[in-house]
């Protein structure tokens, strides 16, 4: 006889997602505030700066866009650069897709809008754990909405504070630290550790590539390295 496993309810999954995202906010909130501050100093109006956080909703490309606008870069170049920086989200999309087959398109669209580095990082861990898939998308909804809300608020606070937080505090450093906290515990075998090392070295080597292509190039090289080391 088949064993019946009860899927956790939508609201339970949702709140698990919210709770999973909370520790990440320590790194995200300062990052959002600094974005708000930088966007104003780059010459964006408060409305533009706030709108970008919901229209684009992707931290590093927002920073880059603000920087490029202040340097009077042609619009097409800004769009292309932001697009390249955000290309890694296609990989996140591919990685989550097998878990979302059963969902209607409106759910897929809503979750895709919420698919940031930080929401992806906690959700993929949850998806990869054993358990009934039926309601797991509510986890991503919970973590994604938590991140979305704090991103909007922290942007607003940054805009409001203007230049009152000295850049010398280096609060933006909290973001790479957050990513370290997300990646390192996942390095459970040799090929994943190897992947992380290759990605780091390649990203340092490719840093000078135009249009920030180094990020996506290093990602692909590291994935190939991971596959290669797995085969050995």
């Amino acid at each position: 006889m088949e064993t019946l496993t009860q899927a956790p309810t939508p609201s339970r999954e949702f709140w698990l997602g919210v709770r999973g995202e909370l520790p990440i906010l320590f790194g995200v909130v300062p990052f959002g505030m600094i974005y708000g501050i930088l966007a104003l100093s780059a010459g964006l109006s408060p409305l533009d700066a706030q709108a970008m956080s919901s229209v684009v909703f992707a931290g590093s490309s927002q920073f880059m866009t603000a920087k490029l606008i202040s340097a009077v870069t042609p619009g097409l170049i800004i769009i292309l650069t932001g697009f390249v920086i955000n290309l890694r989200h296609a990989l996140y999309s591919a990685s989550l897709a097998p878990y979302m087959r059963h969902l209607p398109l409106r759910w897929k669209a809503a979750l895709a809008y919420l698919l940031t580095d930080e929401a992806y990082a906690v959700s993929i861990i949850h998806y990869q754990e054993p358990g009934d898939l039926t309601n797991k998308h509510w986890f991503l909804a919970g973590s994604g909405l938590t991140l979305w809300t704090s991103w909007q608020i922290s942007t607003g606070v940054g805009i409001f504070l203007g230049a009152q937080i000295p850049a010398a505090w280096g609060l933006d450093f909290a973001l790479p630290l957050t990513f370290i906290a997300l990646v390192v515990p996942g390095l459970k075998d040799r090929s994943s550790t190897f992947t992380a090392i290759v990605a780091s070295v390649a990203a340092l080597l490719f840093f000078g590539l135009p249009f920030k292509l180094g990020l996506i190039a290093a990602t692909f090289v590291a994935i190939a390295a991971g596959l290669w080391s797995e085969k050995k």
Binding site: F57, I180, A181, S192, S200
Partner: protein, 104 residues
């Protein structure tokens, strides 16, 4: 080009990127190799974001013990490995970073 046109174009492109495989994968059968590669995506992408944040200062490579971001990042990596805790990792990293900035 107006800022709004840039923002909306970039927003739509980013959304399309995020939706791409989620919406289309039903129709495409992906090669096994590709599926195995997906396991490495978060590690590879996030590591490639982290490394230049630690190793570069003002757009030039700074792999030296006098780079506070590099040292703080290495210590945060050790803390993350030992504790597997986000808040401890960020706290330790920021404290070391601030102390080194005062000393160096």
């Amino acid at each position: 080009m107006s800022i709004w046109l840039v923002m909306i174009s970039l927003g739509l492109l980013t959304f399309a990127t995020r939706l791409s495989f989620i919406a289309l994968m039903e129709r495409i059968k992906l090669p096994v190799m590709f599926q195995r590669a997906l396991r490495f995506v978060p590690i590879a992408a996030l590591s490639a974001i982290i490394a230049p944040e630690l190793g570069y200062l003002n757009n030039s490579l700074a792999l030296s013990p006098f780079n506070p971001r590099l040292i703080a990042g290495i210590i945060a990596t050790v803390v993350a490995y030992r504790t597997k805790n986000v808040i401890w990792t960020i706290t330790a990293g920021m404290l070391v970073f601030w102390l080194l900035k005062i000393w160096l």
